[in-house]
Amino acid sequence: MNDIASTLRTFVRENFLFGQDTPFSDDDSFLGLGIIDSTGVLELVALLEKQFEISVADDELVPENLDSINNLVRFIQRKREKHEPAAAAAQV
């Protein structure tokens, strides 16, 4: 959980804030901070798919899933929970 959040924080800091030490909390909305646009959303999706091996469906592209560190963490965990039982079943 902490690993996920810290990976996400590093990504946001490097990709959207260009290393600037602008303070932001895990609950702050990226949109509210003005650091994300339509391309930024796709960058987040690319990160989730590549780094966290999660596939994101079109109807999941909503701020509730993607618009803060905590929203992302919850979304990732939810996706993994759904995914893992299926994967376990497949191994049997």
Binding site: F18, V41, L42, L61
Partner: protein, 679 residues
Amino acid sequence: MCGMAGIVHFDGSPVDRGLVERMLGAIRHRGPDDRGLRIEGAAGLAHARLSIIDLEGGRQPMSNEDGSLWITFNGEIFNYRELREALQAKGHRFATRSDTEVILHAYEEYGEDCVRRFNGQWAFALWDVRQKTLFLSRDRLGVRPLFFATVGGKFLFGSEIKAIFAHPDVVRELDPIGLDQVFTFWCPVAPRTVFRGVCELPPAHNLVVSQTKFRLASYWRLDYREDVGRTSEVCAEQALALLSDATRLRLRSDVPVGAYLSGGLDSTITTALARRATSGTLRTFSIAFEDAEFDESDYQRVAVEALQTEHRAIRCRLDDIGRVFPDVVWHAERPLLRTAPAPMYLLAQLVRGEGFKVVLTGEGADEMFGGYDLFKEAKVRRFWAARPDSDARARLLERLYPYLPNLRASSLAYRKAFFHVRPEDVSSPWFSHLPRWELTSRLKLFFSREWQAELAGRDAYADCLAMLPEAFARWRPFCQAQWLETALLLPGYILSSQGDRMAMAHAVEGRFPFLDYRVAEFAAALPTRLKMRGLDEKHVLKRAAAGLVPPAVLARSKQPYRAPEAKCFVRPLGEPSRHEYVDELLSPRRIRDDGVFQPEAVQQLLRKAQSGVPLGIKDNMALVGILSTQLLIERFLRRFEPSASAIAPSADEADRGGFSAAEGGGLSVWSATEAAAVS
């Protein structure tokens, strides 16, 4: 169409002829056909000529009959023939067929108000020998440029800032407030420029300078009071009649006139009107992009076939943009957030190479007739904000920016978030421009700590508040958006960085039928509901164009002119940059030395661009903005070598034994002109 420069010494010291020559030398590219210089008392006026009207008689600086008035003039007064007749009827006698002489006589007859009678695009300086007063004027919408500065008791002016910087007394440094404006509005707000102490005469302004006075006054303003009660059909008929006449006047020339033809509605209209008004071959020119996302070749072909023009296109590749970008910034004289001027620079080069000095363009139609996506966005946002719970209204957001692939992929929930309207925004005078300005202002994140500290607490929007006309609050929101676009971006970017400066880099004059002041006044007063009917942009203009342009061009969805950006400069990680200057100017050492940006942030941005992820609008703007600012510092502050970039003298000029370094700046042509004038 030309370049001009000059100086007035109000401190009583004699004018140094060599210095005036040097100032003019910095803008030689604007007028390779001839040069002239006149020292008259405290004033030195110089002129580099691009001969278009009255090739023999139109040499400048020019005086009236008794030598009491001297003028140096860049531009065209298109209604000069009618003005000339009127002045002749009042007893004025003309020695030439030029429009320049018309200005002199009109000034004699009507004084400073003469400019209200001009239909044209001009910047001029007129020295009144008896009054010891310099009268400067600039056209209504800012087609032709005019910059000035005062140093000690000297007043300097020029068509470009280079001319002013060529004077050794001028200190060359950046103005943080000017840069703050660029990184908010995309352009500085005249009279401010990005260089400290250098001013730009705002469009539709006169400036009178003498030893005791410095009077800046506006002589014209657009009025958006609606002239209601007309049907769309009547408006379309009137628009077509006015545009036809505006085009007819802009074909007045003693050299052939060509046309830019982008494949969009606006330039297809101006080309079609030119086609109707001329017999014989009409030559047209366009840009084609290697990158299909930006290319409009298919529509260009449709227009060319329908209008039967003889067409040439320049094919623009990523490397071409990167290659010419340093020269583009040198000519634009301000940071650029877009690369779009670069293809315009290449296009002008093509036009000049084909032997053309004059082109018609469709610029101005989006401002005047309501075509920009920003207008549509503002309309939808305001409509939605009135009923924020309405999903039907929110879904109109899906019709915005269909050509931006990343936005197209966004969910409605995200669109709502991107275009979110805060309750307090609704009453803002720049409601329409808030999303753009806020997005652009985010680029200031890259400013160095010193610059951020210097600009802390500054409200760039307040600069705009100061320029709003008194009537602004009474106009409809759509018209307010039009006014902002016409007052800021049109002169500050479209007509300058993308217009005059790119074309004149190659001595090509643009002419703009949509910016005829009669067209502008007519379009401003159109019933607002007809400007954008529903979400149908430029509704009246489209109606006027039916039967004039091919149906496919009329029916196509609007695609704004854009060009590839960061990828013109940056290659994937591990490979060298596409162009050496990019590595050098963006290196941490240079960024630190120049002091405007933060080296670490710039490195991070570069890494992101090199990683191969497609960059969004903001990141692209950041990279182009930072690189162009660094180029500006390199070319204007660190080393300033105007002659190195000047184009070679034409063969014609060499024949006449004019200007050449070998003669040590000996100006035989000028001397002859002056000898004739004095005797």
